[in-house]
């Protein structure tokens, strides 16, 4: 089954481009450390998922590029075409002349309805090119105007037009110290609207990726390109083909569906975080060796202690002791409770890895058993030159603090009514803000009492 990617706004288009490049590089450039047959299977599954292949031409990404101003899209299209290894469909993009001005209301209430037909036509065309449609993957940032506002509108349209398809929104959480002054308003409005139409929200935080670039990747002058490449690597480690069933002989054909099934058991809980191990500069790989027990131990502690990367993990945090009387009073303070977790293993000896530590019931909330809450996918095919690598997609309290922080700051600003006139100008009233705040406080509350 194929995934149609919708790239929204500057951020969405820049990341989307890195994602397709990373996936292509993984398939073509690296050996994979497995049998030829395995490699070919992987190659075919990946192709079907992300690309459409015309006869003798380069693969064409299954993507729709949307932006309200032309500079980024034209750059993205040309850089992809120049690579020679893949490209976008020349007709599969939509742009306007004047951007959304960082204004969610402009993206949602003005650009959305105005361009709905044109954009949905492009999406329909891409969907029809798929033999079997596996769902939609939208990439957007929350801070700006197009990705966030128009993105929320387009997600709603996707839900209306494809009621039985899976929709996964990939969201970029902006830097805490500001890229856009009204980013907290835009974030609150985006999240509350997406919660209604999307199946799950997969989040990457700029601050976190920035730290990974600085501390793990040793990059001195970090650019957005570096950040986007790390994000693309992490996404690739989740979405490249894997075997989902134990001993299954074919690569899973339904990645989005499988993801939703394992990770989103209840519609109130849709926030997914992503962790990846190991992460290092490419030139270090030749000198490093990894052991599965070590990787798994670190990954588990990253989950429990809510560590953002494999350095600086707090090893003091432990799960609550079994047999305690009341769950909420005896939970250790910094412990990260999970609803569901998915571990993806790639590379050598994945079949022999012991994941029992992830099946510990004390990691999970009480209303799911570990059999239901935990899943593992594997493939012997190594990813992107890492001999062994593991990814964790987690529906847990990972994003509780960032969410609480964003809502808090937005509320502070809203109390003084600052900037609200910029939104009411385009049809988003104070009641709409209040509705969004209420919806998110509900989500925060639900995650807090896990």
């Amino acid at each position: 089954m194929s995934i149609v990617t919708v790239q929204l706004g500057q951020c969405g288009n820049q990341i989307g481009h890195e994602l397709f490049s990373a996936v292509c590089r993984d398939v073509h450039g690296t050996h994979g450390l497995c049998s030829k047959k395995e490699n070919e299977s992987y190659h075919d599954a990946c192709k079907e998922r992300f690309f459409c292949q015309e006869e003798s031409e380069v693969p064409v990404a299954r993507a729709v590029l949307v932006d309200m101003e032309p500079k980024v899209i034209s750059q993205t299209l040309s850089v992809a075409a120049r690579s020679g290894s893949w490209k976008y469909d020349d007709r599969s993009h939509f742009c306007q002349k004047q951007g959304s001005g960082n204004n969610w209301a402009n993206g949602y209430s003005v650009h959305g309805p105005r361009h709905k037909e044109a954009i949905m036509n492009l999406v329909q065309k891409e969907a029809e090119k798929c033999d079997r449609l596996g769902g939609f993957f939208t990439i957007m940032s929350m801070a700006g105007g197009t990705g966030s506002g128009l993105g929320a509108f387009v997600t709603q349209c996707l839900r209306d037009a494809f009621p039985t398809s899976f929709i996964l929104n990939h969201i970029i959480w902006p830097y805490g110290t500001g890229e856009v002054i009204v980013q907290n308003y835009n974030s609150v409005l985006t999240l509350s609207h997406l919660y209604q139409s999307s199946d799950a929200l997969l989040v990457h935080e700029n601050d976190v990726i920035h730290k990974i670039c600085a501390q793990l990747m040793n990059i001195k002058q970090i650019s957005f390109r570096d950040v986007n490449q790390v994000i693309a690597h992490q996404l690739g480690s989740v979405f490249q083909p894997t075997y989902t069933a134990e001993g299954g002989s074919d690569y899973s054909r339904n990645p989005l569906g499988d993801l939703m099934e394992t990770l989103v058991p209840h519609p109130e809980f849709k926030m997914l975080g992503l962790r990846n191990i190991p992460q290092m500069p490419e030139n270090f790989l030749a000198y490093s060796t990894f052991s599965w027990p070590g990787l798994i131990k670190h990954l588990r502690q990253m989950l429990i202690a809510n560590a953002k990367m494999e350095e600086g993990i707090d090893w003091q945090v432990r799960p609550p002791q079994p047999g305690s009387s009341s769950r909420s009073t005896t939970k250790p303070p910094r412990f990260n409770t999970s609803i569901a977790n998915l571990v993806i293993l790639r590379g050598k000896d994945t079949h022999s890895v012991d994941l029992g530590s992830f099946r510990d019931p004390s990691l999970y909330t009480s209303w799911l058993t570990p059999q239901d809450a935990f899943n593992a996918w594997r493939t012997p095919r190594a990813f992107n030159k890492y001999e062994k690598s593991a990814a964790l997609v987690s529906n847990s309290q990972f994003l509780l603090k960032p969410l609480d922080s964003v809502v808090g700051k937005a509320w502070n600003m809203f109390a003084s009514k600052a900037y609200v006139h910029q939104y009411t100008k385009f049809g988003i009233e104070e009641e709409d803000f209040l509705d969004s705040f209420t919806a998110l406080e509900q989500v925060i509350s639900s995650y807090t009492i896990l």
């Binding site: 004047q98 960082n102 002054i181 509320w411 900037y419 910029q422 209420t438 925060i444």
Partner: protein, 475 residues
Amino acid sequence: MTQSVVVQVGQCGNQVGCRFWDLALREHAAVNKKGIYDEALSSFFRNVDTRSGGDGADIYKGKICSLKARALLIDMEEGVVNEILQGPLRDVFDSKQLITDVSGSGNNWAVGHKVYGCQYRESIAEKLRKAAEHCDCLQCFFIIHSMGGGTGSGLGTFVLSLLEDEFPEVYRFVTSVYPSGEDDVITSPYNSVLAMKELNEHADCVLPIENESLFDIVNKIHQMINSGKLGSTVKPKSLVTSSAGGAKAVQEKPFDAMNNIIANLLLNLTSSARFEGSLNMDLNEISMNLVPFPRLHYLVSSLTPLYTLADVNVPPRRLDQMFSDAFSRDHQLIQADPKHSLYLACALLVRGNVQVSDLRRNIERLKPSLHFISWNQEGWKTSLCSVPPVGHSHSLLALANNTCVKPTFMELKDRFMKLYKKKAHLHHYLHIEGMEQSCFSEAIASLSDLIEEYNELDATKDGPRIDPPRLKIAV
């Protein structure tokens, strides 16, 4: 890509405008080596086919034939505009883009606004419409004028309200040169306050500039060059005050250096909208992020660096120095000290070889020494444009919505009241048709209200931070 139209009014407006067009051509020439008319050029210039003689049709793609500025030149005296039309930039302006008269406004806001406004309304409106028709997607009008005189101040603000009526969807950015205390025009306080009311009501964003600050910057550069500290190692084109490399001959007029600073301000402001970068910022984002309440739209600007040494290596320390300078008192374009007042919002527009980590590092470093209002503690808007200005490898424009504009306004009010209490020179205004005493009282009331709004915000500065309670959800 969007287009912008520049409306330059009065002597000051036209002189600054002239420098702007010269430096804009220089900037595009440096970037656009192949002579192709691209989207970046189209934001300020039309490409006109003049081979067939007269006013040819616009050419939208392909090689540059003849560039025409998207501008309207308005002056009620002929001297300045004539000089421009006889100078090296004469081909850049269309003869139909001019509106001139002979006798000037006599440093009288009422003459500029009421008399000439009324007289030339139709003509101005028609030429604006023509300019707008040549645009694919018109986003912004830039108005350049001074506040202290008659034409720039009076007719300039008339054009502003005309723009709001005729083109309500298009942004109006105003660059206003405020008079200094020792201004030689006695009635400049009247003119300025009358104009302020119009700016309060009809402008989307105002960038106030004070001659004193420009003068100080020019002096600072002269001292640095002449003191021998740098010797001859400063790149001439990199001086923010320089016209080197432009169309103008080397012999510069006295105000040229100061006007070049303003021209560079406008170029840097629009750079991220014209050129590519990893984090773009369009003009509509400026107003969205920096104007939290409709009337508080006065932005204090500062430009760094003022010059580049010929030394090619730029270690991060020097880059960090650029950020520090942007917040120092002597780089601001009005006499104000933002560091000791309250920030409502701040934007950093970076050009050139600077990455997001440099930006983040400097924001972290400078944040503790700045006061931000309680509901906007991380009130930063940032943008990264890959194309640096001519002669530099990187540059920074900082725009601050900060209560440090208050002293400027309060002084203006004081100077106004000194004259008004004695009714000095009032008759020159009141005998103009359409002017009454109420015009004055309304204008000073508008200014007082604005000052009061800033006062209220300042009052929150040192108080305890009380966050409003969050919504409670029933579990």
